[in-house]
């Protein structure tokens, strides 16, 4: 199960389509404030996370994951169009970083690497 959190509905829709087509089970979430509740209910196999989100930013979500023993090793792929996204993501504990706009194939490679 893959959790995707991005406040942009277009990205969510696109990623849902691509990943479901490949056969993965997806939980799309536009509001980062809901992530904690979702994870508490069921820890996903992998998270795809945006950085610039209102109220709770991607790096804050990441830190929250890393501080929690249950999610501290959870694979997280950060996707962002921010120029300093790479630095912020890796500092916050991201497993991978992909700059937007990314190649779908590249994302699928990273996902496969963790899930198969």
């Amino acid at each position: 199960m893959i959790l995707i959190c991005d406040d942009d509905p277009g990205i969510l829709e696109m990623l849902e389509l691509v990943l479901e087509d490949t056969g993965y089970e997806i939980i799309p979430e536009a509001n980062s404030l809901n992530v904690r509740a979702i994870v508490n209910k069921q820890v996903p196999d992998l998270v795809i996370l945006d950085l610039w989100m209102p109220v709770l930013s991607g790096d804050q979500v990441l830190k929250m994951f890393r501080e929690n023993p249950i999610t501290k090793d959870l694979p997280v792929i950060v996707i962002s169009a921010s120029t300093d996204g790479n630095d912020i993501a890796l500092k916050a504990g991201a497993t991978h970083f992909l700059a937007k706009p990314f190649d779908v194939e590249k994302l699928l490679e990273l996902v496969e690497g963790h899930l198969n």
Binding site: G10, M14, V18, D21, T83, P101, V104, E105
Partner: protein
Amino acid sequence: MYLKKYKLANYNQDGFSLNGDTLKQDFDVLSQALDSSVSGIIITDNTQPDNPIIYCNTAFEIITGYSRTDIIGHNCRFLQQADRSQPARSQLAEAIANGKECRVEIRNYRKNGDLFWNELYMSPVKSAEGKITHFIGVQNDVTKRKKAELELLDQQNQMEQKILDRTRELRESESFLSSIIQTVREGLLVLDPDFRILSANDHFLRTFKVSSQETKGKLLYELGNGQWDIQRLREMLIKILPTSNPVVDFEVEHDFPHIGRKLMLLNAYRIELEGQYKDQILLAIEDITERREIERRKDDFLSIASHELKTPLTTIKGFVQMLEKIKPKNASEKFEQTLAKIAKYIDRLNNLIAELLDVSKIQSGNMELHHDEFDFDKMVAETIDNLRSSAGLHELKLEGKLGRNILGDESQIIQVINNLVSNAIKYAPGSTQVGVYVSRVGEFVKVSVTDQGLGISLEDQKKVFERFFRSGDIQRRFPGMGIGLYICQQIVKNHGGTIWVISEKGKGSTFSFTLPIEGRLQGEA
């Protein structure tokens, strides 16, 4: 000789009514004595009308150029010719009228019209009854002396005039300077060698809301709440006078009295003048708080704009790639080409957005350099490979190798190669060959990109690396913002290398750049 004797005899008989040979002999001797004098001597008879000359000696003839026959019987004034308005003349007339002695320097004219200065000593001869019977005039030609005197006077006058002019000029330029100092929109302080304030312009006083009284005569470091008492600034200011090294763009962010927290930009120079301004320091202080804030907002705006533009682009790119994945097996060539074109233009749009952001970063000096070691040859080969997919009819030919790793920002160098090769393809629509040549030159690696395209005129070659420069004749035929080469140049410069172009209009261009293999040398600015 005869004439003279005759004259004197006449003179003796008519003038003095003398009798007796002894006396006559004495007068002959006297007359000879007068003739041997270098001074011209005349005697006039005041008892006759118009005071005529009744005697002149040889020297007088020589000085005036007139002969005795021209002279005797005339009034002296004939020597002045038409030059009658001299002050010396009235002096002379007055002395004659009052029977007094006088000494004048008067302009006289020789028979041939030449001017000569006559130093005339005139004294009256009185009879026993006190009546003035004669005047004796002794004259010396002082033309040379007078000329020298006049020249000297003239020089003195000229000198005085020059001094007057210079003083006026100085006064004017001083008020000119002070009006400039007062009008500039920058705070200015003049400091003496001990950093004591000699003067402050109005803009400085207004900026810091202080008075002239609380500024002038104070040490720079005592001003306000000690805002300028910064160790590093002190060190730099101390070096200004002995080394003439200016303080350039020194930023001070401080909570100033009256005006609060501000960002000030300081520039200090030694005043390179002799005289009263020698060894003074000019300190210019500019409030850049607002400017910096605007710059920051502009940068923020651009990064938000680029973020917002890239987000839907990500979605489009994803959907297009999805289309590629799910395209029917029997899809037509047209279908595939169309998908490929969309992908290509998504990349182009993405590059444009990235370039806009790069320009902004370069301008605000925020272009970061990530120095890492990487395989240069591999990087070039991969970059060229990626470009081949969008090269169309152009054949990209890669030659040469560096054969070792290099220290630098790989993604930025890829950007430079991408840009140069893309340009080579873009501006050579009629040709098919683009050459990329890699070589090692000393401690540098050199990359050249050659096309057989339009070429660039000599005039435009100087400008192609300028920001937003677009050559006139390509402006409409080729799209672009004129920032690609500017970014390339900044990247290469940041790495401590150089970039240049050799081109001939109509034949093609070669863009080359060098990079230091060991990365940017320490201490390079």
